[in-house]
Each structure stands twice: as structure tokens, then as C-alpha cells.
């Protein structure tokens, strides 16, 4: 099968293989190629010595350079932080409401806020801060706990009903479950609340509901039902509903109460990042 023969023209042996009459000369590797190949082998030995290379049982050889890509990343991050140090300090020491008068600082805060928002906040509030039932929309002009930069800052830093000592807190009681109100009364109050922003509700139920409201709800939501940011009590007269504006949802809210939690970010994010996010959220269009 394989028959090595001498090629007449070049005097070189063939490999002995024959494919339909086509034979291949058994020329040696080009010299330059071989030397390059040997050089890479020698180079690789040097590589083992200076870089991490061999896996050991529970460890690996570190190499004399002590290089690791993780350390390199940390170094790079540290140098980024170092470069930002002065502006970060400036932001931490600034009066939040005043930052927008310093365009450079404000721009820095917005850019940082945008990416930090995406990483930390978008999971609940949405990537466009559009919110979802139970998670407020941060673009609009309706704020449960106040829409000034400082109010937003406090909400982010300490959270709402969070485990932080300084958390914002307020309670929407479960009026039916805790037997404060009767089922009919709950329905009446819901009718009354809806009548504040809609026409054509049942007038008798509204009258009954208004009485219950004055006794049970006005202390937090206010006589005029415009809410109170002290307790995070929402404005009940506007077009924006935290959990939903249909009667069923409102009845559910009154009957079972609401106690959603916004975590405190005080010990998770550093001061500068919290400030950046506060300014970013404030800039979305609804900031007061």
C-alpha cells in the first residue's frame, strides 16, 4: 500500500501515500518554521516560571511575577476610584439640593446614578424607572415620601419599613382582617375614595363612606385625602394608584392593609453612590 519512492525531478522521497495518482513529497519542515517552534517551547518554559501555570491539589503555582487577572482588575478598579476620589468627596460633602448648580458635579452624579440605578434599583422599579403595581413609578410627580432630592435621598438611604433603625415607616392597617371595619363599610370607603377622582359613583355609598373615612382614614390620608408624606400616605385624589385604581384592588388594600418594603441601602452602597442615585431619580422628570 504505502510505497516510498524517489521523485525524479527533485530527488526527494515521497511519503509513500498515493491518492488517485497524486503523491506527496516528504520534504522536511522549513528550517525557520522549526526554529520558531523550538523557540516557542523555550518561551513556554519561561511562562511556567513567571506566570500562574500548573494546577496543584488544592492550589496552583503562582509564578514569580505574582500575576493574577483578578488582582489586576482590583488594581484597575482602585485606580479608577483614586481618579474619582476628589469629585466623589466633593459630592459627599455637597448640599444635595445645590449640586445642580455645579454642572460638572451634577453630570458626574447623573452618569454614576444612571448605571448604579440600573444595577441596584431596576430589578423592582424597572429599567426605565416606570415601576409596577406595588413599586412606584419614579418618573411621575406623585411621591409617597416626598419628591425633593433630600427626601429621595433619605428614602434610599434608610429604606421604608426596612430593618434600619432610622427607616421610614407608616402602616396601612388591615381594616377588615383586624375587624376594625365591617365588610360593607370597607366597600363604602372604597366608593368614597374612588369618587374623589371619578364621577358616577354610587351617591349613597359615597355618603356612608365619607363618614367612615373621616373617622378612620383622615388621620393619615388627611381631611382632603391628599395624603401625607410623613407617613407615606398616598394622595387618594389623583390619577396615580400605587397598587391599582380599580375598586377590587382598593377594597383589598383597605381590607388587608399594605406593608411593602424598600430596603435600606445605607450599609450596601457608599454615601457617594446613594447621592448619585438620589440625583438621578430626581432628574427623571417628577422631582420637586
Amino acid at each position: 500500500m504505502s510505497k516510498v519512492e524517489k521523485d525524479e525531478l527533485s530527488g526527494v522521497d515521497t511519503t509513500g501515500h498515493d491518492w488517485d495518482g497524486i503523491k506527496e513529497l516528504d520534504n522536511p519542515m522549513p528550517r525557520w518554521w522549526l526554529w520558531t517552534f523550538y523557540a516557542t517551547i523555550i518561551w513556554s518554559i519561561g511562562y511556567w516560571v513567571v506566570y500562574p501555570a500548573w494546577p496543584l491539589v488544592s492550589d496552583y503555582t503562582k509564578g514569580v511575577f505574582g500575576y493574577s487577572s483578578r488582582a489586576e482588575l482590583h488594581e484597575e478598579l482602585a485606580s479608577v476610584e483614586e481618579g474619582r476620589a476628589s469629585i466623589t468627596t466633593e459630592l459627599v460633602n455637597a448640599d444635595l439640593a445645590d449640586v445642580k448648580n455645579n454642572p460638572q458635579l451634577y453630570q458626574f452624579a447623573l452618569s454614576g446614578g444612571r448605571s448604579n440605578y440600573a444595577v441596584n434599583c431596576s430589578q423592582c422599579h424597572g429599567s426605565g424607572a416606570q415601576g409596577a403595581p406595588g413599586f412606584p413609578n419614579l418618573n411621575d410627580d406623585d411621591w409617597l415620601w416626598g419628591g425633593s432630592v433630600d427626601a429621595i435621598y433619605q428614602t434610599i438611604k434608610y429604606g421604608i419599613r426596612s430593618d434600619h433603625d432610622e427607616t421610614r415607616t407608616g402602616e396601612m392597617p388591615a381594616f377588615l382582617r383586624d375587624e376594625i371595619l365591617e365588610k360593607d363599610q370597607v366597600s363604602d370607603v372604597a366608593e368614597y375614595v374612588l369618587s374623589l377622582s371619578q364621577e358616577g359613583r354610587d351617591p349613597e355609598a359615597v355618603t356612608r363612606g365619607a363618614e367612615v373615612y373621616a373617622n378612620e382614614c383622615a388621620s393619615c390620608h388627611g381631611e382632603n385625602a391628599r395624603g401625607n408624606p410623613e407617613f407615606g400616605a398616598p394622595n387618594l385624589t389623583d390619577a396615580i394608584w400605587f397598587y391599582g385604581g380599580d375598586k377590587q384592588t382598593i377594597v383589598n388594600t383597605i381590607a388587608n392593609g399594605r406593608a411593602n418594603v424598600m430596603p435600606a441601602w445605607d450599609d450596601r452602597l457608599d454615601e457617594s453612590v446613594i447621592r448619585q442615585i438620589s440625583l438621578y431619580v430626581h432628574s427623571l422628570g417628577g422631582g420637586k
Binding site: V99, G126, S127, G128, D140, D238, H282, G285
Partner: protein
């Protein structure tokens, strides 16, 4: 005249059929100096093209305060391209595409009319090689002297000549690379910085690379660049037809060739005395008598050489001349009026050139000094406000291409709005006035709120955002949409 006074040169074409092989080693070419009308033309064109290249960055052009005063400048740092009265922004890069199309079509037209005129006269490779050979000839002498020097063993004299030659070549390379970087920065400033070693490393690296390419291409590789590296000789076959001019040896008149003694009869033989002058002067090292070939760049130096010989031996000039393929089989050189310059191919190329050129010119003349981009917020698409109205957000980018500070007024058309305001740097402003510095872009956030009834049950309504230049009333209208719930 004695035809024996024409020396027969011992030279063979580098691409002789019998010597052709894929693995043949390059034969060094020592072109002999040619004299004549084409050589003169080539000197003139060389002077003009080199002058354009070296002088252009130094031409000044007044654009007012704050703008560079360099006539031709590719300002990479500020994303601008300046060409005399034209100033282009990055988004207008299609003008560059247009210029490239015009350049390509011009090349097509010239090739269809005159063959490889580009290769022979104005291609940078030809021009610089010519310059390098000129230097070589000035130092080492003409062909014979150079051949002798090549064969001679290394000596002080040879070393000195070679050293001088390569030094000057490198110097030309440095100047060439140096001129290139001047197109990308203010030339006088960069020149001073380069000399005082204060210019950026990119400038030095660019100069170094172009020095190397100029030296290697013009000094060492020469004709190999044309024959092996350049795609144009392959492509141009598609533009040349039998009516295109090319440098042609009139075989009917010249053959059979052979040495000729003074007084012998010309009866029964050709006019070519086989002196090989045409081969000796050829910078590509070929023999034009072998016919039209890939390597020929139609520099016409062989015409000069042959005409000189014909004059000496008392025969009419034009044994080698510019001629068409159609005229090749006639013994006499074609007369100018016989060349069909106007034919479908040239008319089509000319028409396309005119078309693209006029489109470019019209768009350039109607180029607006104001450009507006409106980017609608997409996340969220709309926001319901506490009073029940819908709010949409738009990022409005205003490009002020003038060199003066301008004030622009933004207005919204096509919808009845309840409120609208601008957010610039964190401040909400009811005045929809944007101030944009000269030659700059400003980006503002525009919020528009309207009642849901404005959508008439649909989820979207077409509106327009109009930006008006308060200085001259020019307005740019941008169509967009106002969206609400589905």
C-alpha cells in the same frame, strides 16, 4: 547619420516569457535616463503633485475666531473635516463617500480614454519612485555606472555613495511622513512640536511608519509594488477597450528587427534596429515590443528613447507611440483625430461623473447650518401625571454649525398641550430657549404633557418639534410621536 552610433544595450526584459516562473528571484532594474517630451511632462507632473502634497497643509484659510485657519485639516480631536470653504461634521461623512465615488469615476474615465495615465504619471508610487531614481542617478551615475557599482566589491567609495543615497532616501521618507501628519493638526504648531520633541507619540509613530513605507516602496521595492501589490492593474482591464490609448510598439513597421549599418537599405526589413534603448529606460524593466502587458504603467519613457533613436538614424518618429489597440495593426502611428474619444463607454463614465458631481454640489450648497435630532423617550414610553395628563419626554439635540453663539426656540406642533418645559442641567425652565455656542451641539430634555383625550382613543399621535434659529428665523421641523396607553 550613422546608425551604428546607436549603441546596442545588453539588457533583457525582466518578464521575458522563457524566464517566467513563480519562484524566480527579482532582477534589479537600473533604468537609464530618458530625454524627450514625455520625460519633460513627467518632471512637470512630478513637481506639481509633490508640491500639492507638501504645500497644501501650509495653506491658510480664514474661518473667523475659534476655528482653525488651516485650509485642509482633518481634525480628529474635534471631529471636523475642513476643506477650504467646506466644513464637515462626522455625520456628514457621506460627502467623503461621494468624493471617493467621484475619484473612482474620474479614474475610470481617464483609463477608458488614455489607458493607464494614472499609473504612468500621477500615482504616488510612480512619482516617489521617480524621485528616488533621480536621487540614485545623481549620486551613483546613470545605468552603466550603477551596474558597475553594483558588481564592484565593497570599497570606501562604494560605501560612501550607498550611504549618501540611503540617507537621502530616508530623508525624503521623513519629509513625506512629516507632511502627512500636518494634514491632521495645525501645521506650524505641529512642525515646531515635532522639532522640539513635544509632539504626541502618535505623530512620531505615523511619521516613522510612513518614512518606512516611503523608503521601502520607493527605494527598494519600486516596480514590484505595481506588479504584485497593486490591484489596479487587474481592475483596469475592465475599463480599457480597443479604443483606449496605450503605449504601443508598431510591430508591422518595426519587424523584422535587426542591427542596421549606415547606408544599408531599409527594404525588406523593419525599422527596429534592436538597440534595446526602450528596454533600458523602462522603470518596470520590460520590453514594450513584447506587446501590451500587465507590468507596463504607460510612463511613455520608451517612446522618448525610441524617438531619439529614430531621429538619429533618420527615420520618422513614432515606432513606439501612444496608440489604441485598434491602431496597433497599422504601420503608421494613429493620428489624433482618428482616436474615438467619444464612445458609449466614455459617455457613460462621463455622465455618471457629472451626475454624482452635481448631486454632491447641490447637497453641499444646500447644506443647513442647523441640524436637529429628536430622540423620543422609549423607557417609559409615557408617564401618567397626578392630574391625569400624559407626559412624554424627548431629547432634543441641536447642532449649531455656524461659528457664532445662537439662540434657538423650541415649539411643539400638532397637539394641544397642557404644559411643556425644558430640563437643562437639572433646572426646569418654562422658556423653551436653548443657547448653543458656535460649532457645538447642545442636548436638552423636553417634557410635553397633554390630556389623554388628545390621543382620541389611539395609543399614538403624530406631532412635530420645531427648532427655530432666532438669529435668522431658519426653522428645522422634526416629526415624532406623542404616546399614551394602549
Amino acid at each position: 547619420m550613422d546608425s551604428s552610433s546607436v549603441e546596442k544595450i545588453d539588457v533583457t526584459a525582466v518578464n521575458k516569457k522563457e524566464n517566467r516562473s513563480l519562484y524566480v528571484k527579482r532582477e534589479k532594474i537600473h533604468p537609464k535616463k530618458a530625454t524627450g517630451s514625455f520625460r519633460r511632462l513627467k518632471w512637470i507632473i512630478m513637481g506639481i503633485t509633490l508640491a500639492i502634497y507638501y504645500i497644501t497643509p501650509w495653506i491658510r484659510w480664514d474661518r473667523g475666531v475659534g476655528a482653525p485657519d488651516q485650509a485642509v485639516l482633518v481634525d480628529i480631536e474635534h471631529n471636523r473635516f475642513y476643506f477650504f470653504f467646506i466644513e464637515l461634521w462626522p455625520q456628514e461623512v457621506y460627502y467623503i463617500t461621494g468624493i471617493l465615488i467621484v475619484a473612482a469615476l474620474s479614474l475610470f474615465l481617464v483609463t477608458a480614454l488614455f489607458g493607464r495615465a494614472w499609473c504612468g504619471y500621477s500615482c504616488p508610487q510612480t512619482v516617489w519612485t521617480d524621485l528616488f531614481i533621480f536621487v540614485e542617478r545623481a549620486i551613483e551615475g546613470d545605468r552603466n555606472a550603477r551596474l558597475k557599482l553594483d558588481r564592484a566589491p565593497m570599497s570606501f567609495d562604494k560605501f560612501q555613495k550607498r550611504f549618501l543615497k540611503h540617507t537621502i532616501w530616508v530623508a525624503i521618507g521623513v519629509v513625506t511622513g512629516g507632511a502627512w501628519v500636518f494634514y491632521f493638526a495645525d501645521a506650524p504648531t505641529l512642525f515646531r512640536d515635532l522639532l522640539t520633541f513635544e509632539a504626541g507619540s502618535v505623530a512620531y509613530i505615523t511619521v516613522a511608519i510612513l518614512t518606512a513605507t516611503t523608503y521601502v516602496f520607493g527605494g527598494l521595492m519600486r516596480e514590484q509594488v505595481c506588479t504584485y501589490m497593486c490591484p489596479w492593474p487587474r481592475i483596469q482591464g475592465a475599463m480599457i477597450d480597443e479604443e483606449s490609448l496605450s503605449v504601443t510598439y508598431h510591430a508591422l513597421r518595426g519587424e523584422p528587427r535587426g542591427p542596421h549599418k549606415k547606408g544599408d537599405s531599409w527594404e525588406g526589413r523593419g525599422h527596429c534596429i534592436d538597440c534595446n534603448q526602450c528596454v533600458a529606460v523602462c522603470p518596470m524593466g520590460i520590453d514594450i515590443r513584447d506587446g501590451s502587458q500587465l507590468e507596463c504603467i504607460t510612463c511613455a519613457l520608451c517612446i522618448d528613447a525610441c524617438d531619439g533613436v529614430m531621429e538619429k538614424i533618420g527615420l520618422p518618429k513614432g515606432l513606439i507611440s501612444y496608440d489604441t489597440y485598434a491602431g496597433q495593426n497599422t504601420a503608421e502611428p494613429i493620428k489624433k483625430q482618428q482616436v474615438r474619444f467619444i464612445r458609449p463607454r466614455t459617455l457613460i463614465y462621463g455622465f455618471l461623473l457629472l451626475l454624482v458631481g452635481s448631486i454632491m454640489l447641490v447637497t453641499l450648497l444646500n447644506r443647513s447650518e442647523l441640524d436637529v435630532n429628536v430622540i423620543r423617550d422609549r423607557n417609559p414610553l409615557y408617564v401618567t401625571l397626578s392630574d391625569g395628563t400624559l407626559r412624554n419626554g424627548y431629547t432634543v439635540k441641536i447642532l449649531n454649525k455656524t461659528h457664532d453663539l445662537r439662540r434657538f426656540e423650541i415649539s411643539v406642533e400638532g397637539i394641544e398641550i397642557t404644559s411643556r418645559w425644558l430640563q437643562t442641567e437639572g433646572h426646569n425652565e418654562q422658556d423653551l430657549i436653548v443657547v448653543v455656542p458656535g460649532d457645538a451641539v447642545s442636548s436638552v430634555k423636553l417634557f410635553v404633557a397633554a390630556n389623554a383625550e388628545q390621543l382620541a382613543g389611539k395609543s399614538s399621535r403624530d406631532i412635530a418639534i420645531v427648532v427655530k434659529d432666532l438669529a435668522n428665523g431658519n426653522a428645522e421641523r422634526t416629526e415624532t410621536t406623542f404616546k399614551g396607553p394602549r
